[in-house]
């Protein structure tokens, strides 16, 4: 069965610090990978996704993620965080061509101004 592991449940950073949130999945086939973000008081929204091509994908607000197939990882990065990046971040995976989507437990990021 598919599963997604997010290693950091809570992260606290100061503004301008660099961010990397880990995500590992278990599935042997071709996958689609997603990062979603939930800002306080808002609904979940897509940050970025990977389904084929360049394994380094760029999303909104300066976020990027790198798909490393050999490591079953899809880590999220941002070189310099802002206070407005305070949110909960979810990694998700589904099988290519399939719709059942498995989410990680989420990482709560708090950025100190």
């Amino acid at each position: 069965a598919q599963s997604v592991s997010q290693h950091n449940h809570h992260v606290i950073l100061s503004e301008a610090a660099s961010l990397e949130l880990g995500c590992n999945y278990s599935y042997g086939g071709t996958v689609n990978l997603f990062w979603y973000v939930q800002y306080p008081g808002q609904h979940l929204q897509l940050l970025l996704k990977y389904f084929s091509g360049d394994p380094l994908v760029k999303g909104i607000k300066g976020f990027e993620a790198e798909f490393i197939k050999s490591k079953f990882s899809f880590n999220l990065r941002k070189p310099s965080v802002q206070w407005s990046d305070t949110a909960e971040y979810f990694c998700a995976v589904n099988a290519s061509g399939g719709f059942k989507t498995i989410f990680g437990a989420g990482t709560r990021l708090f950025v100190k101004a």
Partner: protein, 114 residues
């Protein structure tokens, strides 16, 4: 607005009662998903509908849970004989046909079982 709409936004009910949660997807979205999010936890897949295909019910936790969808429109998630462990936020999402497309989420229904 053109987003996913869920109702009610909050529901408080007594243990043992049945509840029905509603989701209006974005027009034209053929795929519809239900998730459960317990306090402090991630999203737990419950069920998805895709066009006229049979729904994938593999995430429903017990036979007290059921969901229906009429065509490519409204979906209802029903929980019978509610128990306290059913307390959670129930999220609905919709997407266009391809599985590599992003899901658009509603604001959820916060269900509290007394």
């Amino acid at each position: 607005g053109a987003g996913v709409s869920q109702s009610p936004s909050n529901k408080v009910t007594e243990k043992g009662k049945d509840v029905e949660l509603r989701c209006d997807p974005i027009s034209g979205h053929t795929a519809l998903y239900w998730y459960r999010q317990r306090l402090g936890q991630g999203l737990e897949f419950l069920i998805y509908f895709q066009g006229n295909s049979a729904p994938d019910k593999s995430g429903l936790p017990s036979d007290r849970f059921s969901a229906e969808r009429t065509g490519e429109s409204v979906s209802t998630l029903t929980i019978q004989r509610t128990q306290q462990e059913d307390s959670a936020v129930y999220l609905c999402a919709s997407s266009i046909q391809d599985s590599n497309q992003p899901q658009h989420f509603g604001d959820g229904t916060r269900l509290s079982i007394l």
